[in-house]
Amino acid sequence: MASGIKDRVAILGMGCSRFGERWDMDASGLMVEAFLEAIEDAGIDVTQIDAAWLGVGLDTASIGPSGVPLSVALRLPNIPCTKVENYCASGTESFRGAVYAVASGACDIALAMGVEKLKDTGYGGLPARPRGAFPDATLANSTAPGQFAQIASAYGAKHGVKRDDLKRAIAHVSVKSHANGAKNPKAHLRKPITEEQAMNAPMIAEPLGLFDCCGVSDGAACVIVTTPEIARRLGKTDLVTVKALQVAASNGWEAEGSGWDGSYFHTTRIAAARAYKEAGITDPRKDISLTEVHDCFSITELVTMEDLGLSDEGRAVYDVMDGKFDADGAIPCQIDGGLKCFGHPIGASGIRMIYENYLQLLGRAGERQRATPPVNALSHNLGGFPNLNVCAVAIVGMN
């Protein structure tokens, strides 16, 4: 069994563009905005970067194929530049490329960028894509909210939670994220909402209303990683290191096999278990003090609290209503507003989550800073549909 990469890679610098409807720039501008912050934070010159990874979810809508657009936008010094795509987990996937390159010793310093330019598609939600491959021919005529909404029906039936009680709990999830997003100057959506507003919003996909769905945004996030030794040599004293980085991809069992009841995320449970093991965490409720999870929809966040082991199965509804994951709760979730309000430029989201965790660990999160900075912070990045997806879990902490 591999020993993992705990504490073998440190974050040297991070940057994140303002998320939102960025009618003012295209993907290259967003990448530059994130990069300039990251490289200043890292305190290095661009020529010191050995390799780069670009995470994009919908390249045809955003940026085009290959890693070249990243190399061109940042004028990288002809280093290896690779585009990765793994649904909405593409951001963490690009981070994994850079982290593994450093952990392997192949690179001293590597960069990962996640970006998405969604607002040029003309769609309110995510764009519909052409469907020609065989699996598409069997796929229900569906959208992302509809695919995730199904979780609510199965979860409610399994745990005996009435539809309206579940609706109120997921409303609380969104109310909390709106309150957090209001404090984040880079967030897409910055208006607080009430539970009643969330409950009574127009229906998107039963039972998910408008406020149960995350923002569809333009944005980019960037991270530069190196070894702890090099980071110290470069003058860094407070080091945030990678404690664990795990990805689990569905193999079709949820969709085609039998046993999955549609009420949880199989891959999240697997990725979380592997990540806790890699990080040496035996009790996540004690050792994880902050989370950024993939709240593409409010129901996703609620169920994810159980899949990450932060709530007992069937109890997340009550923990949510008790404020356990609020900004002043025991384990805040989406203290930056999350996908819900910071926004969800697909390829950028995984790195944006790590960005917030990084700022919180270093006590640099401004108005939304936790009074006691966390020790370990977890990010959970999910791509695809509940029955067929990629889940990435990253844990970063002070070294």
Binding site: G122, Y123, G125, P127, A128, R129, P130, R131, G132, A133, F134, A137, T138, L139, A140, N141, S142, T143, P145, G146, Q147, A149, Q150, I151, A152, S153, A154, G156, A157, P202, M203, I204, A205, E206, L208, N251, G252, W253, A255, E256, G257, S258, G259, D261, G262, S263, F385, N387
Partner: protein, 484 residues
């Protein structure tokens, strides 16, 4: 000797309330109020004559009896494809073996009965033939036809030997009487004056043909127990019967007030409907009109009392939802284009090479069963999806289309583009194993619940309008036979 071995029908769930259509149109044509009575069956946006024929065939024959079919004949004047064998698509959906014959019959309102005659002739030669007739005729907006037409299908299995009703004889009379016509480059009929059609067409051609037939069969008109004829003109069936010397009591329900007239399928629908209540030794006379007249005479056998239960035309008629929106009807027929937003613009091109490679999955809904682990899955794959044993190359075909299922998760999606929002879909679990996330159709979104019994139906999945290609797949509908 050739006989009817089995029969079935299909009527779409929605019934346009003629009153609603007349209310929307009377400012334009007050004369339409003469047709305000009753309702007509309208196909869903995802139904056409192929999908309706499939349902009628399934109603006619359970899966385990389909292997008797040696040939499939599909009659319609509203087939989705002018050149791609429509009966061949039905054959795949019914999961018939490849060594069967298939034939499309079209071109006249007699196509249904002419197909049945062709089927019976083959049956006399020793072959079981499944004769299908299906119709979804387009009518001009605000025409009488728009109100009187209906969408439906029928299936009649014929074969050699004694069955439920044996053929006494058939007769055809052909004259080029163009009461209406539709050129091959047009999509709508052009009709001539109704009084001429009635008086010179129906009232003269049909009695003449019936008289010729009865003389040939050596049967007198007053011996006919049931006279079966479509009645697109109100009362025309009674007039023809009278002119032919057939008793008024023999004229049964022509379903005009409940279904409408389903073109060339109507005589077969009415025959299937009549057989549901027929008694041994009754004589059923079927007559159709269209550039002449086909006449078929059947004698019901004692076996009629022991036939297998099915939905039948009556069962499908009872499975109904009143449609009060004339706009929805126009939208479903394509007569009115509603703005579906950008999602409706998404390219729907489907590679035929992929469809052919996966036709067993997509058209026949055949999944896989791992012979090592027993795991049932859809679709079939090289490596079993079972978590405990990733067996390689062990899967045998496992048909799922006739398996009942239950809802395990669901949603009603208002964001997705569908001609009939909200788009409803969810995870279903098949009895005995297997699952899929699948579109639901014929559902009321507010009534969906976990555990709800469902059945599969062959439907249109999407329509590539730009290239004129229809992509079919299976969807789940509330189990209309859950109580049985």
């Amino acid at each position: 000797m050739a006989s009817i071995i089995a029969f079935g029908g299909y009527v779409p769930r929605r019934r346009l309330q003629r009153e609603a259509a007349v209310a929307a149109l009377s400012w334009f044509n007050a004369g339409l109020s003469a047709h305000a009575r009753g309702e007509r069956a309208i196909a869903g946006w995802d139904e056409d004559t192929v999908t309706m024929a499939v349902e009628a065939a399934r109603d006619c024959l359970p899966e385990d009896r389909r292997s008797v079919i040696r040939k499939l004949i599909l009659a319609s004047t509203s087939l989705p494809y002018a050149d791609r064998q429509n009966a061949g698509i039905v054959k795949e959906a019914l999961n018939l073996s490849d060594d069967v014959g298939a034939l499309d019959v079209t071109g006249s309102q007699r196509a249904g009965t002419s197909a049945l005659i062709a089927a019976l002739e083959s049956a006399a030669g020793g072959s079981e033939v499944l004769c299908l007739a299906s119709e979804r005729r387009k009518a001009k907006v605000a025409s009488e036809a728009e109100l009187t037409y209906g969408d439906a299908a029928a299936a009649i299995l014929v074969g050699p030997g004694a069955g439920l009703a044996e053929l006494v004889g058939h007769h055809s009379h052909t004259v080029d009487f163009a009461d209406h016509f539709r050129a091959s480059d047009r999509c709508l009929d052009y009709e001539w004056e109704g009084r001429w059609v009635r008086d010179e067409g129906y009232a003269k051609i049909m009695p003449t043909a019936i008289a010729e037939a009865l003389a040939k069969f050596n049967v007198s008109a007053d011996a006919i127990d049931r006279f079966i004829m479509a009645a697109p003109i109100r009362g025309i069936d009674k007039s023809v019967a009278k002119a032919a010397g057939i008793g008024a009591d023999a004229v049964g329900d022509n379903l005009q007030d409940r279904l409408g007239t389903a073109g060339c399928a109507q005589p077969l629908i009415l025959l299937a409907h009549a057989l549901e209540k027929a008694a041994p030794s009754e004589l059923l006379l079927v007559a159709s009109f269209g550039q002449g007249c086909d006449v078929l005479l059947f004698r019901v056998t004692d076996a009629i009392g022991a036939r297998a239960a099915n939905m039948g035309v009556s069962g499908w008629l009872d499975r109904r939802k009143a449609e009060d929106s004339y706009i929805r009807h126009l939208h479903f027929t394509g007569a009115l284009t509603l703005d579906g937003g950008m999602r409706a613009e998404a390219d729907q091109r489907t590679p035929p090479s992929m469809l052919y490679r996966h036709r067993r999955s997509l058209l026949s809904l055949v999944g896989g069963r791992c012979t090592k682990t027993g795991t049932i899955q859809f679709p079939k794959s090289d490596i079993s999806v079972a978590q405990n044993e990733r067996a390689i190359g062990t899967q045998e075909e496992y048909p799922l289309a006739e398996r009942r299922a239950r809802i395990a998760s669901f949603t009603a999606d208002s964001l997705v583009y569908t001609p009939d929002p909200p788009g409803c879909y969810g995870l279903i679990e098949f009895e005995g194993g297997g699952r899929m996330t699948v579109d639901f159709t014929d559902v009321d979104p507010d009534t969906l619940e976990i555990g709800q019994p469902m059945r599969m139906m062959f439907r249109l999945k999407r329509h590539d309008v730009e290239r004129g290609f229809k992509h079919y797949f299976w969807k789940a509908v509330p189990d209309y036979r859950a109580a049985t």
